[in-house]
């Protein structure tokens, strides 16, 4: 298995404060990696660097061997990374289906003239979009209404839709920022199986997560960050036993244990 996403010595500073300082990891096909660390460790900043929302101040990121460091988010998305956000970033006034269609923007298949004249090409392409949207909603196990604005839906459903949207992008790498936050036990179990099914599609998953139980059960490798530094990397068992990790989580024992 080759590395799809490669992050080398990533650094980002905000006005002198180094949010990420020397993060390196690789993600391979069919693999789930977790990035963990206490609040403020720089995990989300690292995600934002990888997806182009922040310009890294140092280091390199490559995708399938191509350097994507510092490119704009849309180009990185086109290159093959999709993501979810820590706090839901859906399009609240748009329907569930439209939200998922957002992930399919790069499918193309029609242009503005097709739209204005409703050419057969346009109709085919729209039908395809709709089918795909339904397919991905089914895939994530979404059972709620699909033609209504998403802001009316329950939180768990919104989380499902956000993942469906990211999946619709059909990219090789999926970054999930705290996918389990705010979910109940059943929903977390659903998430667990969903992640595995996504992995089985051949996708590399990198997730940020605070729920240690979930992380330990799901991920093949774990990267631990603290104060912007990478303090450990390894299998769940290795990380659990690492004294630096235990120290970083001191006072948060219950999370490690749970």
């Amino acid at each position: 298995m080759s590395a799809v996403l490669e992050v080398k010595d990533l650094q980002i500073a905000f006005g002198g404060v180094k949010a990420v300082d020397g993060l390196s990891f690789e993600a391979r096909e069919n693999e789930i990696i977790a990035v963990i660390g206490p609040n403020g460790a720089g995990k989300t900043s690292a995600f934002n660097c990888i997806t182009g929302f922040y310009k890294p101040t140092g280091g390199a990121i490559s995708l399938n061997g191509k350097d994507i460091t510092g490119k704009r988010p849309a180009d990185i998305a086109a290159a093959g990374i999709s993501r979810t956000f820590q706090n839901l970033r859906l399009f609240p006034d748009l329907t569930v289906l439209d939200n998922v269609r957002a992930g399919m923007h790069l499918y193309g298949g029609q242009n503005w003239a097709d739209a204005i004249f409703h050419t057969p090409r346009f109709k085919r392409s729209e039908a395809h979009y709709t089918d795909e949207a339904h397919r991905w909603l089914d895939f994530v196990g979404y059972t709620g209404p699909r033609g209504v604005p998403i802001r009316n839906l329950a939180y768990g459903q919104q989380k499902q839709v956000e993942i469906a949207r990211a999946l619709a992008r059909k990219s090789g790498v999926l970054l999930l920022d705290e996918p389990a936050a705010g979910l109940n036990y059943t929903e977390k179990q659903g998430l667990l199986s969903l992640c595995r099914r996504i992995r089985d599609l051949g996708t590399a998953i990198v997730l940020i997560e605070h729920d240690m139980g979930l992380v330990m059960e799901l991920s093949e490798r774990i990267v631990v960050m603290n104060f912007g530094h990478e303090i450990a990397e390894g299998t769940p068992a290795e990380v659990k036993a690492n004294p630096a990790v235990i120290e970083a989580y001191l006072g948060k024992d219950e999370e490690v244990e749970s």
């Binding site: 704009r72 998305a77 923007h105 739209a115 979009y129």
Partner: protein, 345 residues
């Protein structure tokens, strides 16, 4: 396209509105009904004044539908939209007069000029925060007007007049008020339909994604800047065609027609009607353009009444008369479910 409506999945609370009235309002044929009414109106009243007012209103609808692309779909606050109409009107007026051409032949030139104007105004500004965009577009609007007022080619303060008609074939005069009204209504209807269709396409969705959450849209691979620029260009083209009709209708173009108030009025039409909903915008445009005419007899007080009305309407209905609802059929693909997800959740 509306068969197979399967609403069983929708809980009542969040489902699409079910009342008779809402159904009528959401009906696909409503646009044709409106067009029918517009086409029949002259059989009711056809005084020169009525035709003039109705033609003006129709042109205004065109402008509002163009601005709706920019503001309603894409969420870009444009306070200088009338500048695009000015560009269209001046371009067609100047060329038609200089070469003594019927106005229809100026369409290519107007297209080029308005697209150019959209690029010039949009390119440097669309990276800006929305409030800044508002003031910058306002600035561009004023710059356009003042420039038109100061240049010789635009006729300075008195503008251009004696502009030829749209076209003339034998005895058939396109400038005959009733004829011109019908031409306008048909052109405007076509543009409104085109704008509505654009709104329901991949590009239109991209506009809405940008409006709702630019970062999330960007993360989906949407070049937000390009998409915004396209919204601007389409808005500009709509405005430019409004300008051609305007020039043909009045046979004169002068800077006074492109003051900030006009931009504000078009924007009001969009917001009052319901941003993003083309039907609402058409209604809003009709209200905004017809109301001052109806209030004409109040003379001094009409803008006072107008101002107060705006405040009252906005306070009680901030989404506009008829906001975009954002419902669509729950239609599911009739194929088998993916076996892989049986048992998931």
């Amino acid at each position: 396209m509306t068969e197979n409506v399967d609403t069983t999945l929708a809980p009542k609370k969040v489902g699409a509105p079910q009342s008779f009235l809402s159904r009528v309002f959401e009906s696909r044929q409503l646009g044709w009904v409106a067009l029918g009414i517009a086409l029949l109106a002259p059989f009711v009243i056809a005084t020169p004044y009525a035709l003039n007012v109705m033609t003006t209103a129709a042109i205004f609808v065109l402008l509002a539908s163009g601005l709706n692309i920019v503001v309603g779909y894409c969420g870009l606050l444009d306070l200088g939209y009338i500048a695009f109409m000015a560009v269209g009107a001046y371009t067609s007026g100047i060329i038609a007069k200089a070469f003594e051409l019927p106005l229809v032949f100026t369409i290519p030139a107007v297209l080029v000029m308005t697209v150019l104007a959209g690029l010039i105004i949009g390119a440097p500004t669309l990276r800006l925060r929305s409030d800044y965009l508002a003031i910058v577009t306002l600035g561009f609007g004023e710059i356009t007007r003042i420039t038109a007022n100061n240049l010789t080619i635009t006729g300075g303060p008195s503008g251009i007049f004696g502009i030829p008609g749209l076209f003339e074939v034998g005895d058939f005069d396109s400038q005959e008020p009733a004829v011109f009204y019908y031409i306008t209504v048909l052109v405007v209807a076509a543009f409104v339909l085109a704008a509505a269709r654009l709104g329901k396409s991949r590009l239109g969705r991209a506009w809405r994604f940008v409006r709702e959450d630019e970062d999330a849209a960007e993360a989906m691979g949407i070049h937000t800047y390009k998409v915004k620029l396209l919204a601007y260009i389409f808005g500009a083209i709509w405005g430019g065609f409004g300008g051609i009709l305007f020039a043909a209708h009045l046979s004169a173009v002068s800077p006074q027609s492109f003051i900030f108030l006009q931009s504000a009025l078009v924007l009001m039409a969009v917001v009052l009607g319901g941003m993003g909903n083309m039907r609402g915008v058409v209604i809003g445009a009709l209200v905004i353009s017809l109301l001052p005419e109806l209030l004409r007899d109040l003379s001094d007080y009409r803008y006072l009444a107008f101002g107060l009305l705006l405040v009252v309407v906005m306070v009680f209905r901030p989404q506009g008369f008829w906001p975009a609802r954002g419902y669509e059929p729950e239609r599911r693909k009739m194929e088998k479910l993916d076996p892989a997800l049986k048992g998931a959740s």
